[in-house]
Structure formats: C-alpha cells, structure tokens
Symmetry: C2
Subunit: 126 residues, 2 copies
C-alpha cells in the first residue's frame, strides 16, 4: 500500500489531444496571477523563462481570446496579467478537473492498491 508516503496517488485530468490547457499550463496561469509576471511564474515553477513564454503563447493561441496579457519590458522584464477570460477558463478547467476526479474516486482507491509502494522515478513522462 502507498499509505506510508506523503505522496498518495493523484489523478490529473488532461483535456484533449492537442492540449489547450492541462495541469502544467493551469498551474502556470495561477503562478502568473500570483507573481504578476511570466518570469516570476517561471522561477516559481522551476522552468526556464523561454519555456514559460512558449507555454503562454501556445495557450493564448488555443483559445478564442488570450488568457494572459504580457506588457513588453525587455527580456523577462515586463509584467503579465491573467485576463478575465483567462480566469474564466481556469475556473472551468478546475471545475471539470474536480468533477472528473470525483467521478472516479472509488476506482482510484482500488487502483492505488496496485501501485508499488516505493516507486519513484526521475523519468516523469506519460
């Protein structure tokens, strides 16, 4: 059983094959909201500024309106804010995530019993 770990199995919900928004992007939007900039969010999430910027670009192009507005200010220098549209998208996403996760809660409990208790990986690919 996996109860001895602080890392109980978690379920993440990915929406779509071309992933317009997923766990990582949603967390990035939250971090931009918290820190007020893409660079601050990148730092908080331990990713490069370039990667965060690319994720923001991809996200903005995925939806009918941008989720993030960045003010130009030189290399990593400008601020960024989450638009009303971005907040609305994020809320819808989080709501779907919770509902989907709740719908399979009993199954996840059973599934957790099949996981090796001491598994760790530095190859966190899907």
């Amino acid at each position: 059983m996996a109860d001895s770990k602080n890392s109980n199995p978690r379920l993440r919900v990915l929406m779509g094959s071309a992933i317009a928004i997923g766990p990582g992007k949603a967390d990035l939007v939250d971090a931009i909201h918290r820190t007020g900039s893409i660079s601050g969010a990148a730092r908080e999430m331990g990713m490069s500024y370039r990667r965060a910027w690319l994720l923001v670009e991809a996200m903005n192009r995925s939806f009918i309106d941008p989720l993030i507005e960045a003010s130009t200010g030189g290399r990593g220098g400008g601020g960024a804010r989450v638009t009303d549209h971005g907040h609305a998208i994020l809320k819808r996403y989080r709501d779907m995530e919770s509902k989907a996760a709740a719908s399979v809660e009993p199954e996840m409990k059973e599934f957790a019993a099949l996981l090796a208790p001491d598994f760790t990986s530095d190859f966190p690919d899907d």
Copy 2:
C-alpha cells in the same frame, strides 16, 4: 468549434511526481499488445526504442507486478507481451477514463466552444 478534435479528458495517475500510467504509457501498452514487441510498438508510435524501453521499465516498477514481459533477444530483437496484470491495469485505466469523460461531457461541450477553431499545436505539453 473543436468537434473534429478528440477533446475527451484523459487521465494521468501520479505517484509523487512520477507518472505510473497516463495517455502515452497506456497507448504504448496497447501498441506492444498489437505488435508483440517493444521495438514494433516504438516504431508504430514514432518514438525511439530506448524511449519505449524506458517507459516500459518505469511502468513495470510503478505497479506491484509487471505489465510487460520482454524476452531478451538482442538489441530490440526480442518479443514482448502484456501480462494478465497489464491487461487488467489497462482496462481499469480505460474504464476510469471513460467514466471521467462521461462525468464532464456537458462541461466539455461548453469548453470546446472557447477553443480557437484553427488551433493545432506541435507543443503539446501540459
């Protein structure tokens, strides 16, 4: 509208930061079952043999019993089969996915209307 896209939710089961099973690994198990080998599955999925092998290794170590049994046969030469345990895990995973998808079907329809109609991404990171 994004109706032409597969926008069904997909699930990832994480243990800590490690992904025990997710969309890519599940598809890999299917491909191994179809092709009878890790190399065949890798080819079908357009990934390197090494990458497929690492994913299989990680998966096998994530669960209490291995999902894939490979017979050694030189570099990429041996066959591989999905164990009964592997089939059972995959079925549980797919069932959870279907149930989660059904639970947010109305919300997903609304969400799809917010996606840019021409969105495609070659940066399908989450």
